[in-house]
């Protein structure tokens, strides 16, 4: 099995769209993403079968292609539990992203090409086990977003797009510096390599670890909306077109979390332990602060954008706790938040498309006129506030339980204060539901707007099904992830 076929499928789809007219662009994009979804589902089954057969190696389906032999740059692909769950997330979000933008009118072809290009970047990022190709795909998953927001966005789109691109590029500059320092030490050890596994065993002096780790961690955490560096998120999300918001919050923010866990903490457990209190403090601030700021938002899209900051704080909190359980929870939170927020943005896009406003108070009573969209909104909201039976609960609880395994007062207080955000989350979610969906119908014009169309229904159903499949029986996913986490974070003798 070759997981890099995912990349080939994406590229073929992109080329097909390029070659065809814009009338069938949507159809081609849908076909391509559905194939990707089926492929990654197949990957899941093969992965599980392989694990059940007793294959305990960290990466499955490994392939190495030499890219530039002189510097030992390769494309080393392979999947573990974390990347598998991320790939599944990506494919699910992409399909629904294509579906909700079915009726894009302006430059349809280019829109789908850029969206798929983002998808390619994300797949490549998650597949790569070589830092060079990983960085390459990382950039690929950032740049098209600028165009998507600046061309198809709304509001202050150029400003938001520029801010997002600059801040994310700043993050990747840090990452690049980190990667190059690592490469330097691998050269010094006489075995130049960008390969994660080899770098894992490369000796790096303690002092160097203490500066390379923050470079990598901060660089990735910018994408995951680490507290003072989160301001691209609200602007970017609220200006982006629906599908781009879905991708941005659903997948891009996960690239950051994945990088933090799978690269920064994996390579430097000792440095991570050193910096863990700072990470926890920043994550807690981000969680609570994000939640409280969300409380004030009147625009429901902006509300969801800020709530993403709060929810991604949980990813960093789980990562910063450094226990296997919390780390598993962090990955679960990435998956859960990815799907949930995609659904949320999708639904908000549908509402906006009908009512042409996103201010909660101008909506009102929508559940009466669009029951399907309203129900989806409620489901997304309930997932966001962590209702059991939906995916958010599983992730948050795993993080809390994992965080509580450390018995000192600092970690306790951090956990409890993070847990306090679930109350605030309930408040803003219920406010949004109460204001925009319930109550008497505010505007008679909405009555003719009609409920979801087939493609919107399909997009929501796919996302809701994924939320529920994790929420009702989370064991399969948490098992896949925790197995990998426990292999990744056994103590490394060299560091």
């Amino acid at each position: 099995m070759n997981p890099e076929y995912l990349l080939i499928i994406s590229l073929v789809t992109i080329i097909a769209i390029l070659a065809s007219g814009s009338r069938i662009a949507g159809l081609l994009a849908l076909a391509g993403t559905v194939v990707q979804l089926v492929f990654s589902a197949g990957l899941l089954f093969l992965y599980m079968a392989e694990r059940n057969a007793g294959n305990a190696s960290l990466l499955l389906f490994e392939h190495t292609y030499v890219w530039y032999p002189d510097w030992n740059i390769t494309f080393h692909s392979g999947i573990d539990g974390i990347s598998l769950s991320m790939i599944l997330l990506t494919s699910v979000v992409l399909v629904s992203g294509v579906l909700v933008s079915w009726k894009t009118e302006y430059m349809k072809k280019e829109f789908f090409i850029l969206l798929l290009l983002l998808g390619t970047g994300a797949y490549g990022f998650f597949l790569s086990s070589d830092l060079f190709s990983l960085f390459f795909f990382f950039e690929l998953a950032v740049i098209p977003k600028y165009l998507l927001i600046a061309i198809w966005g709304s509001g202050r789109k150029e400003y938001s797009a520029m801010k997002l691109a600059l801040m994310l590029m700043g993050g990747s500059a840090l990452v690049l510096a980190g990667i190059l320092s690592l490469y330097y030490y691998s050269c010094a050890a006489g075995n130049p390599s960008f390969d994660l596994q080899q770098l894992y065993t490369t000796p790096v002096p303690e002092q160097a670890q203490l500066y390379i780790f923050p470079l990598l961690f901060t660089g990735f955490a910018v994408l995951s909306a680490l507290f003072p560096l989160h301001t691209w998120a609200p602007d970017g999300h609220s200006s982006a077109p629906t599908a781009a918001s879905m991708f941005l919050a659903g997948i891009s923010m996960k690239l950051g979390g994945y990088g933090c866990i799978r690269i920064a903490i994996y390579l430097f457990p000792a440095a991570a332990a050193f910096y863990s209190p700072y990470i926890i403090i920043l994550a807690c601030i981000g969680i609570l602060y994000g939640a409280f700021v969300t409380l004030r938002q009147k625009d429901i899209k902006l509300m969801n954008a800020y709530s993403s900051v709060s929810h991604c704080g949980f990813v960093l909190l789980g990562a910063g706790m450094l226990t296997n359980t919390a780390m598993t929870g962090a990955v679960l939170q990435m998956v859960s938040h990815g799907i949930m927020t995609a659904l949320f943005f999708g639904v908000i896009g549908m509402i906006y498309g009908r009512t042409h406003t996103r201010i909660g108070e101008e909506l009102g009573g929508l559940l009466k006129v669009m029951p399907f969209i309203g129900s989806c909104f409620i489901i997304a909201g309930l997932t966001s506030l962590g209702l059991p039976g939906l995916s958010g609960f599983v992730a948050e609880m795993t993080i809390f339980v994992g965080a509580f395994q450390i018995g000192d007062v600092f970690h306790r207080i951090a956990t409890v204060s993070a847990a306090m955000s679930i109350v605030v989350t309930a408040v803003y979610i219920l406010r949004a539901i109460g204001i925009s969906l319930w109550g008497p119908l505010k505007n008679e014009k909405f009555r003719e707007s009609g409920d979801a169309t087939w493609y919107e229904r399909a997009a929501s159903v796919i996302l809701i099904a994924s939320i529920i499949s994790i929420g009702i029986y989370p064991f399969w996913m948490s098992d896949i992830i925790s197995n990998t986490v426990s292999v990744l974070f056994t103590s490394n003798p060299l560091k």
């Binding site: 801010k163 801040m167 003072p228 560096l229 989160h230 301001t231 691209w232 609200p234 602007d235 602060y289 409280f292 700021v293 409380l295 004030r296 938002q297 296997n324 359980t325 009573g365 559940l367 009466k368 309930l382 506030l385 962590g386 209702l387 059991p388 039976g389 609960f393 599983v394 609880m397 795993t398 809390f400 339980v401 994992g402 509580f404 395994q405 018995g407 007062v409 306790r412 956990t415 409890v416 847990a419 306090m420 679930i422 109350v423 309930a426 408040v427 219920l430 406010r431 109460g434 969906l437 319930w438 109550g439 008497p440 119908l441 029986y473 989370p474 064991f475 948490s478 098992d479 925790s482």
Partner: protein, 648 residues
Amino acid sequence: MSNIYDYTCFILLLPLLTFLLPGLFGKKFPRISGILGTTSMLIVTVLAYLTAYHYFITDAPAEGYYWPYGSRWPYLVLAKFTWLRFNAALSLDMGIALDPLSVMMLVVVSTVSLMVHLYSTGYMKGEERYSTYFSFLSLFTFSMLGLVVASNIFQIYIFWELVGVSSFLLIGFYFDKPSAVAAAKKAFIVTRFADLGFLCGILILSFYSGSLDFRVIIERMSSSSSAFYSFAAGASFLGVSALTWALVLIFAGGAGKSAMFPLHIWLPDAMEGPTPVSALIHAATMVVAGVFLVARLFPVFCMSHAAMDVVAYTGAASALIAALIACTQTDIKRVLAYSTMSQIGYMMFSLGISGYGGEKGLGYSAALFHLFTHAMFKALLFLCAGAVIHAVHSNEIKDMGGLKKPMPFTSIAFFFACLAISGIPSLSGFYSKEEILTAAFHRNKIIFCTGLLTAGITSFYMFRLYFSIFWNNKNKSGIKTHMAASITIPLFILTVATIEAGHIPFGKYVSSDGLPLHSDTDIRLSAAAIIISGIGILTAAFLYLKERTLPGRISAKAGIVYRFIAGKLYIDELYLLITKKVVFNLISAPAAWVDRNIVDGGMNLLGAAAENVSETIRPVQSGKIRNYALWFLAGTILISLFLIYVIR
């Protein structure tokens, strides 16, 4: 041993099915969902009774079988599977656990739920979202049943949240009414806040006991010689032991759900939901979840006197305060809501003063006995109130009066329920309340006096309600009283239950240590309770049997005290002040401002700084070729000098 209970799994599966089917396809077949829900509830009830019959009667071996948490374990776990594994020690196993407590709760929940389903088929007829209603009702029943049979503390938490959300959805069922929306939000948020405590309690408890399974937690925590116990009791935070923290926090969750003072503010507002929902969720089942939770962890609670005191005094305070407020309310459902709160207060303090094992454990049995009888008569009261509201189209007492003639059947049912709640002998409430007072008398005199006083006030406000609705000369003519069979049958069954439920030898089946408990009643205590209740009833009769101006004059005399109580002690206003003023305006608004101006401003500042720098060095590129030449020449000379004198 477990084979004969295979059918018990269907108790959970059927409501789940009747939640999903009408929820997904209900729109096409609206009528069917009611019938489907009721039928499946009937099956569930039969299965629950069958389980209880097997568990308590046919399968019950000799004395000592009901030893819930010791070595001889009658605590059956059916259908256990791993739902989520946190780490090697902590895993979340979903299971169906049968012990005296859960079997008793199965009976209560399924009975009341069946009655409410049946009643709703008549009551909700013609609703636009009829099938949604039944779907939500099934969701609630499913979650509540899952809650009571939980074998794992996290499983309880999961179903705890699910009952919370189904309550939220049902309170907000009439979602175009702004008051219903506000009530639903309030209920969810207040209980959510309490659940935060519950969650922290679970985390602490699981950390110290190293398990999430009830059986293991209780085994490890309930003996003072266990290493886990000494670990938890030894660790302390802010001068209080970790065990007490855990238990108090867990109790906070229970107090939120059970509307204990001061987290009760959501319950009266929750009456915005349809009346059958109030009967099911906000009177008989969900609100007693807190009592259930304390009872479930009772052996652990017994290990911490401080936690038990918190439970007892919270319960007693809630009982008294709610009873006082109930006297002043004019909305029939709100009176009943406060009465519910007061009765749950009884159960709570009864648990709080109870000891573990033998005679000392009387409070435990009494609390659960009261839970059982209260579920019956309170459901009856609510369903009667629903019938009345249906007839007069108002919740206000002043719009009622003299309804005894047009609604004789409802009047009689209501009368019996009032007698039961007042603790008049031979009705169910008498026995349970009697036991509670006896237990309190032996263990804590202050709480006993509070309980006694509350008993008097209870009978006063209940009969105030009864007389104002059904007597009180105002003859409301022209009231149509068509009562469908679907409404009268549940009323009839519940009336029978209200009268007869007290004769069940409850202590024999459910007791703190699992051993049958034979309680002796002290005739003097019963006499005191009966006299106090009688005084309450007579006062109510004197004031409200006929239409008089006296009550108005009394309340005017009481002045500020009356207003304070009628204003529900202004607790709502206090909360509003905290949430609106403090959280919203003092935390949230500045945070939003800081985010836009300081944090984001910082980022923009970086951008502006970069722009400034480039603006500053921009003139170097003047476009004037001779400038460039000059720079070039100067550069060349500098580099040459550098090469000559520095590098050499």
